[in-house]
């Protein structure tokens, strides 16, 4: 693992800073590793040194320090130090008990999770499940009806005064959707509060949001007429949570070398949602792995941005299977082959159209495009393909990131992985010789 990749694992800037400060050999009392685990002891503010461990197979952390951050600064420091100065670590097969106990326990747990769960009274369980499903369905149905009427009222009286309605107006409607167990719809209503009402196109954004929400409500009303996959998509959009347990044995699994193209995290009501976009080299598939954590608790995931994971991804049923979870992770690959990229934006758009035909809500999709160059139109930077077609860069992609991209490319055409987002592109990384260069997110 490279140092840059380790840095991506930090839960926040403060942990990263502290972790870097600890990545100095003389701060550690012991430093050792073997093929499955890395461990060290570091003197903290306590009487005894803290015991820090990193599972190298799954990139998981454990530390005896009292920090609630995950990984803590000691875990990060240990892994950064290993990335930059591996010879400082003693190669040892003799793991201390505190190390072997933890790693063995993790392995046992992983094996147990892989075993099929024992069913206790499956008939009763199924009966309960159906009952719960029915109850929820009725609640959501009522919520969908209410929202549909709310949207009608909005367009009947006109959207001109939407900016004056105020924050609480949308929050109250969103709260009613939460009561109706339709959190997806609630988020859709809250999105009205995120619109910049000072921007020249707010009117368009308001109508887009109204029509999008209406599409969901109508899709839900027509649910039985939709294909089972699209039903899943609609339910997911409305707010039915998806968990690993919902994935039956028939769920699509793809084993591949998955490059973690990029990662972004956002906060939603004190929950950190971590998005990981992946690309499978053999299958050519793209995937999104979401991880969740409460406040700063951190996420335990073997995925490392910019690194190739040898893994099996299990895809959630969808008209366009994209969201997935890591079913099995067997290690990392250090060889970076070239990805199958679209020759230009026209080809990429054709691909997007195919997806939208199947699943109209799909967005934030990673796409590899060849021969892209940066050009500047007045104050705005654009990505230009070899047909002179341009896409504006996402405003969230800062000026310094543009300069990073310029520095790496030297102005030459490059194969870039872009995240397609509603009219903009956000460069996640680029192929640089035999490696993938992650752009700072």
């Amino acid at each position: 693992m490279t140092e840059e990749q380790v840095l991506q694992l930090a839960p926040d800037a403060a942990s990263l800073k502290a972790g870097k400060a600890l990545a100095v050999e003389n701060k550690w009392v012991t430093l050792a590793y073997n093929s499955r685990v890395l461990w060290g002891e570091v003197q903290g503010s306590g009487k005894d040194p803290y015991r820090t461990q990193v599972d190298l197979q799954q990139t998981a952390f454990k530390c005896s320090c009292p920090s609630r951050k995950f990984p803590c600064k000691h875990g990060l420091g240990l892994l950064i130090l290993f990335a930059k100065s591996a010879p400082a670590f003693q190669n040892s097969e003799n793991e201390p008990t505190w190390v072997s106990e933890w790693v063995d326990k993790r392995q046992t747990k992983a094996e147990k999770a892989a075993e099929p769960a024992k069913e206790v009274n499956p008939e009763q369980k199924e009966k309960d499940r159906l009952k719960r499903q029915q109850q929820r369905y009725q609640k959501v149905e009522a919520g969908v009806g209410e929202l549909s009427q709310w949207l009608r009222d909005l367009v009947r009286t006109g959207t001109l005064n939407v900016p004056e309605k105020g924050y609480r107006y949308f929050e109250q409607t969103a709260a009613r959707m939460v009561d109706a167990q339709a959190t997806g719809l609630a988020n859709g209503v809250k999105a009205f509060n995120a619109i910049a009402y000072t921007s020249p196109d707010w009117q368009s954004q308001v109508l887009k949001q109204c029509s999008q929400l209406y599409l969901w409500t109508e899709a839900f009303r027509n649910l039985p007429e939709l294909s089972p996959e699209l039903q899943e998509d609609v339910k997911n959009a409305i707010g039915w949570g998806r968990s690993a347990k919902d994935l039956g044995p028939q769920a699509e699994c793809i084993t591949d070398d998955w490059l973690v193209l990029g990662r972004m995290s956002r906060e939603e009501d004190r929950i950190t949602v971590q998005q990981n976009w992946l690309y499978g080299y053999s299958s050519g598939r793209i995937a999104l792995v979401l991880n969740f954590s409460y406040q700063n608790a951190g996420v335990e995931t073997p995925l490392v941005p910019g690194r190739i994971s040898k893994a099996t991804l299990q895809f959630y049923p969808s008209a366009f299977p994209f969201r997935a979870l890591v079913k099995e992770h067997t290690g990392y690959e250090n060889r970076y082959p070239e990805a199958k990229a679209f020759q230009d934006f026209t080809q990429a758009d054709t691909f997007l159209r195919q997806i939208w035909q199947q699943q109209p809500w799909a967005d934030e999709l990673p796409l590899w495009v060849e021969q892209l160059v940066l050009i500047k139109a007045e104050r705005e930077w654009l990505l230009c393909d070899n047909q002179r077609q341009v896409m504006p860069l996402d405003p969230a992609f800062g000026e310094m990131q543009v300069f990073e991209l310029l520095a790496l490319s030297g102005g030459q055409p490059m194969q870039v992985c872009i995240l397609h987002r509603e009219g903009y592109v956000y460069p996640l990384g680029l192929q640089l010789g035999n490696s993938y260069q992650l752009l700072a997110v």
Binding site: S148, T157, L207, Y214, L215, W356, K376, L382, V390, L406
Partner: protein, 503 residues
């Protein structure tokens, strides 16, 4: 206007006030819309909007632009720094705070080797806000780095034009920096610029920018300072600060009346006390309890801008004591050698031990140190500084005070008086001495750890064991973390310096 915009207009006014006609919608949308219920006016409109949005999104053609492509960077003839050098660069850039001295040494080494900075580090290095680093960075940027600089104005600045722009358009902090730069190059021109914009400045800006005149202060500045002093009205706190600042500046003029006035009056408070039937006479500092003809409220508070009440009864015995030490800090200390007929050690001893209780010595040390810096008498500084630190709690200078001190006396020169400075780096003895001084200082504040970094270039090449052996064994645990931090800092500096040399 396209179809979507027409829908937006309908939505703005509302379906009850504006007519929506689906006939203008694209044919495929109309075909799908035929299945919707037209009687449900709002539902029908929202369906039309949803379909049109999807239709337009899917059929959107990318804009084709005719702008010229960027001219790519020229092919590089020099080779990039090798892996080992990159690894070291990463380590240096990860240092918090960044060690600009070591980074500069590293960049010089790259230049010596004929290597250039790898592309992935160009932006980070160009953003390092340190003039010395930027100076050494330019020769190793390579063709790509030079090309990259052309895209971002702050990276291409040439000192003169940039300062001009900062002065014209910048905020007060940037203007202050620019004024410092002008003052360094041409003190008269800098003062004229300040004078030109004086009437437009706010009180806070005036105070900030006036401070710049301390640099290269000369008698040429007097007329402006006197005019500014005359112009001051009222006694608001900020006005008082400006008033005091102007007074300080006037006092520090090489041949100013204020300096002369202080030099004539201050020594009169030292009286000779006769002992042993008049055979021995010893000097004694006697300050008035209340006001007198010199220590008067109109002079010190109203004219010169000092407080009209004793601001700290712990530090100062009386109001006149406070004024006296403010004045001492502004007066050429040579008068004390003459008045007391003693050397610098004697002056320090007289004021801080013989005529002050230990708990009131801090202000006295500070005044003597500031005077030593202002009148460039390092010998006095060293005396006051070294004696000062031997009193617990006496060294309570702010970092700002230290910055002022180091502007005039570089850290390494502090010890030049008594120690030998070897060419290029400090001797073992000198390094040990400074390290031990710093060990004392870190007891009061971890800020002093930074001094080890300031001197990164000079430290003697101690081994780690030698550094450990310099740590006192009997330090109470609450002081230990500062000492350990300092030792770790020095070890790291030396290890990085060795690494740079070995490239």
């Amino acid at each position: 206007m396209n179809t979507w915009n027409e829908l937006v207009q309908v939505a703005l006014l509302g379906t009850e006030k504006s007519n929506f006609s689906p006939e203008s919608l694209p044919q495929p949308v109309q075909t799908l819309l035929a299945k919707a219920d037209r009687q449900d006016r709002e539902g029908f409109f929202l369906t039309a909007a949803a379909l049109t949005y999807q239709y337009e999104r899917s059929g959107k053609k990318r804009a084709v632009i005719d702008l010229p492509a960027l001219t790519p960077a020229e092919q590089e003839s020099r080779s990039e720094a090798p892996q080992e050098a990159i690894k070291l660069l990463k380590t240096l850039l990860d240092q918090l705070p960044l060690n600009a001295t070591l980074l500069s040494l590293y960049l010089q080494k790259l230049q010596e080797k004929g290597w250039i900075i790898p592309s992935a580090y160009l932006v980070r290095l160009l953003n390092v806000n340190d003039a010395q680093v930027q100076q050494f960075l330019l020769p190793v940027l390579g063709k790509r780095g030079d090309w990259l600089r052309s895209f971002h104005f702050p990276w291409q600045r040439d000192a003169e034009t940039d300062w001009e722009k900062s002065w014209q358009e910048g905020k007060v902090a940037e203007r202050k920096k620019a004024l410092y730069a002008f003052r360094e190059q041409n003190p008269t021109l800098a003062r004229q610029r300040l004078e030109e914009s004086w009437s437009e400045l706010s009180a806070r800006e005036r105070k900030e920018l006036l401070e710049v005149l301390l640099l290269n202060l000369s008698n040429d500045d007097e007329a402006f300072l006197r005019a500014a002093q005359q112009e001051l009205k009222g006694h608001k706190p900020l006005t008082q600060e400006i008033r005091q600042l102007i007074f300080r500046l006037l006092t520090l003029l090489p041949t100013g009346d204020e300096q002369l006035f202080l030099q004539q009056n201050l020594p009169t408070y030292i009286i000779r006390e006769k002992k042993l039937l008049g055979l021995i006479s010893t000097p004694k500092l006697v300050l008035p309890e209340g006001e007198d003809t010199f220590f008067s409220l109109p002079r010190f508070a109203q004219d010169w801008g000092f407080y009209g009440q004793n601001p700290d009864s712990y530090q100062y015995q009386s109001l006149s004591d406070y004024w006296f030490w403010e004045a001492v800090a502004l007066t050429n200390p040579q008068i004390w050698r003459e008045a007391l007929k003693t050397d610098w050690a004697g002056v320090v001893k007289f004021f801080t031990i013989e005529n002050a209780k230990a708990d009131r010595s801090a202000a006295r040390y500070k005044a003597l140190l500031l005077a030593s810096v202002r009148f460039n008498i390092p010998e006095l500084f060293v005396e006051a500084y070294q004696k000062g630190v031997s009193f617990t709690g006496a060294t309570t200078f702010s970092l700002q005070d230290y910055q002022l001190i180091f502007q005039r006396i570089p850290f390494r020169q502090l010890y030049l008086q008594k120690n030998e400075l070897l060419q290029g780096y400090w001797s073992a003895e000198l390094s040990r001495h400074i390290f031990q001084e710093l060990l004392e200082l870190v007891k009061s504040s971890h800020v002093y750890v930074d001094f080890a970094r300031q001197a990164s270039e000079y430290w003697y090449e101690f081994s780690e064991a030698e550094i450990d052996s310099l740590l006192p064994a009997d330090t109470p645990s609450y002081y230990r973390s500062g000492e350990e931090k300092l030792a770790a800092q020095l070890k790291e500096i030396l290890s990085l310096r060795r690494w740079i040399r070995a490239l």
